[in-house]
Amino acid sequence: MAGLAEVPVGAAVRSSGGALRTVEWLAAGAFGLIVLLAILGPLLAPYPPEEQRFADGVLLGPGSPGHLLGTDQLARDLLSRLLVGTRVSLGVALAAVVLGLGLGLLIGGIAGMRGGWVDAVLMRAMDALLAFPALVLALVIAAALGPSLRTTVLAISIVMAPGFARLVRSLTLRERARDYVAAARASGASAGRIARVHILPNIWAPLGAQAALAFGHAIPAEAALSFLGLGVQLPDPSWGNMISEGYAYLSLSPWGVVLPSIMIVCTVASISILADGVRRALEV
């Protein structure tokens, strides 16, 4: 512990404010690229992702003729599955975050605006959801509704809703305390109008940062559910699905597992670096 002499006292540790750093720009670029792949994926995919082309051969390696990244155990084009899987995984995560954010806005907004027993009941309900470990809650929802892509979205969004609701509530309370809201109320604006016109526009930034973080959690959540067979159903590709299926064939061809794993790690890493950067930039 030689370097301890320099224990900083008033270090400017939280390098707050300002623009994004290089690594954050890189992360933004990587994430943008992944999003682009998700949008264009199905157009770029050379084959339908579930098409089994046994004539071409199973478990081909990357660079095989006609299959840039090779094929999987059912002779499906890996590139196509990866591209469409990117759209599926990102789509599930995005839909879950949007839905979770919507639920959070609704619940947190009502709790924050109304206060009193409504607030107490809603927030205890959110605490109740938080009493389930995330994957357990998602699994209960999958059990209740039957596993499907839609259930996966719903399950992840419900897992996220309490976090959003709490944030929305505290931001709403903060904004409500401000003078301009008091002024608006004095001039007779309705609670709904105040929420829409005065509060909502002022809480987007922190919510956005939270949503980015949530997105970084939704990706592995989808992957884990699909890996367990409780998420996106076969033969639709998703990253979790591909890993789950490809694992059996790992010694014959690692690509079915390695490629989606890389996608997951890159996506989560880039979004979390980006979210940190955005949050820091917004804190100015």
Binding site: A5, E6, G10
Partner: protein, 329 residues
């Protein structure tokens, strides 16, 4: 209780042309710009100036406690003849807490909230002396008793938040005195306290200084406060010393317009007015200070010369081209 200034006493702390720069958001700030002063053994010196004038940074720099963004850009700090600015961190560490005690501005914030009071006292003893656990504890009880904490043994097992603000400050003083230092740097130790407690604490410091022939560098923005117990007062403005002298003269007839303004701005104890009455205007930007007198923009005695010629050239006399004569303010 005031000791007469004794010019014969040995110089304990000798700050010579100290320059401290801080890397701030707007650029390098000269927080301490050629500061020189001395503290003699057993002497209580007040270092007075507005907030942000560099007095705290100067004092911290003497014992190497600058923030990472700050560094000493020049000058020397001699403690008993040893140059502290040339010392390694581990050598400084041996001096801090043992030869130089430090009393923080706000004991509530400075005491570690999650560590028992006793441990916060004994840890400094254990770091600098060979006392074992029980001996250190006994000494801690003595110290608390000496600084006037009632039921000291019981307090040792409590946490800081269980004490009143005045008691916390006394604990902080006890910590500063734990290893019988030669010098105590007290950084506005009474700011956070109410007026009555303030007086008790300053009284305590003065008494302890006398009993232990301790030198005290008492930092304050309140000239009238230091008037009651210091031997000498140094007035700083914008990173520079503008005037110093024996307390009676400094509090009756300061010569520098800033020192005088400070005296007038300072509310009397008995008036119970807000303590921080202010002087018109703001201190200059220390990233690129003006070439002349730094007080010039706020000074009603200013002449064109003040804007161009730096009165620091007059030091160690009063750094002013147009000082007041020695008449009482």
């Amino acid at each position: 209780m005031n000791l007469a200034p004794n010019e014969d006493r040995a110089v304990l702390l000798d700050v010579q042309d100290l320059r401290v720069v801080i890397d701030g958001p707007a650029g390098l700030v000269s927080a301490s710009d050629g500061v020189s002063f001395q503290v003699r053994r057993g002497e209580i010196v007040g270092l007075v100036g507005e907030s942000g004038c560099g007095k705290t940074v100067t004092a911290l720099a003497t014992i190497g406690l600058l923030p990472p963004s700050g560094r000493i850009a020049g000058g020397r700090v001699l403690l008993g003849g040893l140059d502290l600015t040339r010392m390694r961190e581990d050598e400084l560490r041996e001096i801090r807490g043992s030869r130089v005690g430090y009393v923080p501005q706000d004991a509530t914030a400075a005491l570690n909230p999650v560590v028992r009071v006793g441990e916060q006292i004994t840890e400094v003893l254990r770091a600098h002396t060979s006392l074992d656990r029980s001996a250190a504890r006994a000494r801690a009880i003595d110290l608390l008793r000496a600084v006037g904490v009632p039921a000291p043994a019981r307090r040792l097992d409590g946490y800081p938040h269980q004490l009143s603000g005045g008691l916390r400050q006394r604990v902080a003083i006890a910590i500063a005195l734990a290893c019988d230092p030669e010098l105590v740097i007290a950084d506005e130790p009474t700011t956070a306290l109410d007026v009555t407690t303030q007086a008790q604490v300053t009284e305590l410091l003065a008494r302890l200084a006398a009993e232990r022939s301790l030198a005290v560098l008492f930092i304050s923005h309140d000239l009238s406060l230091v008037a009651s117990f210091t031997d000498r007062v140094i007035v700083m403005y914008a990173g520079q010393v503008v005037e110093e002298g024996p307390t009676p003269r400094m509090t009756s007839a300061p010569r520098h317009p800033y020192a005088r303004a400070l005296l007038h701005a300072t509310p009397r104890l008995e008036r119970k007015l807000p303590r921080l009455a202010t002087i018109e205007g703001r201190p200059p930007d220390l990233v690129s200070p003006p070439p002349g007198c730094r007080f010039e923009p706020r000074c009603d005695r200013a002449t064109p010369r003040c804007r161009t010629d730096d009165p620091q050239a007059l030091r160690p006399a009063v750094a002013c081209w147009h000082p007041f004569d020695g008449v009482s303010a």
